[in-house]
Symmetry: C2
Subunit: 96 residues, 2 copies
């Protein structure tokens, strides 16, 4: 299934930027970064559960938020893009 993961952090602080990089490094193992804080990950329920657990360890629950949207297996007609092409953030290399 497609799981959309959106992440909110104040990247004005170094610690915030570090958490964002950690989240991104985790998420790109399972999918694609389509916007700065939006990841589309294809995974089954068991993997999703494991990923959520990992991400929970990274975020600062007082400051950051994560949202998960479950788009099922037939997601191609449920997504539409407008404007600049999706791309990885070249300012933050995600090569592991």
């Amino acid at each position: 299934m497609l799981v959309l993961i959106t992440y909110d952090v104040n990247t004005e602080t170094a610690a915030g930027r570090k958490r964002l990089r950690k989240i991104a490094r985790e998420c790109v193992n399972y999918g694609q970064r389509v916007q700065n804080s939006v990841f589309e990950c294809v995974m089954d329920a068991a993997l999703c559960c494991s990923v959520k657990h990992k991400l929970e360890q990274i975020i600062d629950p007082e400051k950051d938020s994560l949202r998960f949207y479950y788009l099922g297996n037939h997601y191609k007609t449920k997504v539409e893009h407008m404007g600049a092409k999706p791309s990885f953030d070249v300012t933050e290399p995600l090569i592991l």
Copy 2:
């Protein structure tokens, strides 16, 4: 149906921040800002089409991107939240 609208812009520039505010002002007419660049809007297909057209006029298609995710009418079980509670960005008043 629930339409998730995610927006990507470089808010390091005043013009980018202005476009983000415009997008937000438009989207909050139809739903809730759940993260800085993530909006959940409840609308029918006709309204969605109209909103997309309006947003298309606001973005800079060379620099910004918008993505629309269609979560249908039975969306409550398709959304999960972790961490800090969803809130409007208090630094950018959205009162119209």
